[in-house]
Symmetry: C2
Subunit: 188 residues, 2 copies
């Protein structure tokens, strides 16, 4: 029986497709998944997947971005060190989880590779850069010494992402060490 | 006419397949390439590709690792700062080139995603880690102050890789800045 609300059905279809794609991604590499496979597991016609997403990379990218970019409130503890510890700890915990690490790598794998697509590729990381800028602005307004945004990207975010990508440890204690090192330098 | 040396023909086939795969990768995302497409462009039967590589991700990973891991002699200038500048400048130049950046992202995209496959995934980065260790050992033997290997990974390699992944600038002048910052700290 068809549901009376098309919006509701669309949302349910999307949830089923995302669920199916996530399950397949947990099993194998993005390059060995097909649109037909996702459709089959979601119980949806492949044609409607093509209509909605166009191709598989676009679908997988949509799944990865939605799972990765889940929003949590920015910490606001009144102290930059604590704010960064909470923020970086949260990212480390997410990258350290099976799902977080998986979706980060799927994001990297499916984001457009062509040089011309660079703005689209950096859009996801720009969200994190915006969060860093907000934390640093607050610290500066309180009169705390603060590093530059690029320093936080290079020396806090980059080591955590790189460690997740290459299967090296990236837990909360490493996040704390990275924050301490960063702020030690900013205070000089 | 068939060539008399099967080894020679095998090498030629491999070169044609790598060439075809590289050309396709420059055009679109790894997830939208098929084995049949690579075979067609290389003028080789798809069955022989399946026989040799098993599946497309394995083939693309092989291409990316070969293109990325091209060997160049480690610098040995008698001074850690100069050694690291040359080494990091070379990596930045490679990541900054269209091909280097492409193959790095293909490597990340096709390396096995499953948690169990972690050792395989980190094998490529381990080569760079080995180079870092060699440079630092030499510096220590000369009595120079030297950072730890993980510091060089986190604060020199990670920012360069992360910038390449997200389409942020990663040129040789940034490599020089990162080296200066790293050694400034090691000297304290």
């Amino acid at each position: 029986m068809r549901t009376a609300r098309p919006g509701g059905r669309t949302a349910q279809t999307k949830a089923a497709v995302f669920e199916a794609a996530s399950a397949l991604l947990a099993e194998k590499s993005p390059a060995s998944i097909s649109m037909v496979e996702v459709a089959g597991r979601a119980g949806v016609a492949a044609t409607s997947l093509y209509r909605r997403w166009g191709d598989l990379p676009t679908l997988l990218l949509d799944v990865a971005v939605e799972r990765l970019m889940e929003d949590w409130p920015l910490p606001d503890t009144g102290c930059l060190a604590t704010d960064l510890q909470v923020w970086a700890g949260r990212i480390a915990a997410s990258l350290g989880s099976r799902d977080g690490s998986l979706f980060f790598r799927v994001y990297v794998a499916t984001a457009p590779l062509a040089a011309e697509a660079t703005p689209g590729r950096s859009a996801a990381v720009m969200r994190r850069v915006g969060q860093i800028a907000a934390l640093l602005d607050r610290a500066t307004a309180r009169g705390e010494p603060a590093p530059a945004v690029t320093e936080v990207v290079d020396h806090l975010l980059a080591p955590l992402y790189m460690r997740a990508l290459f299967g090296m440890p990236a837990d909360e204690s490493i996040a704390l060490d990275l924050v301490a090192r960063l702020l030690d330098r900013a205070a000089r």
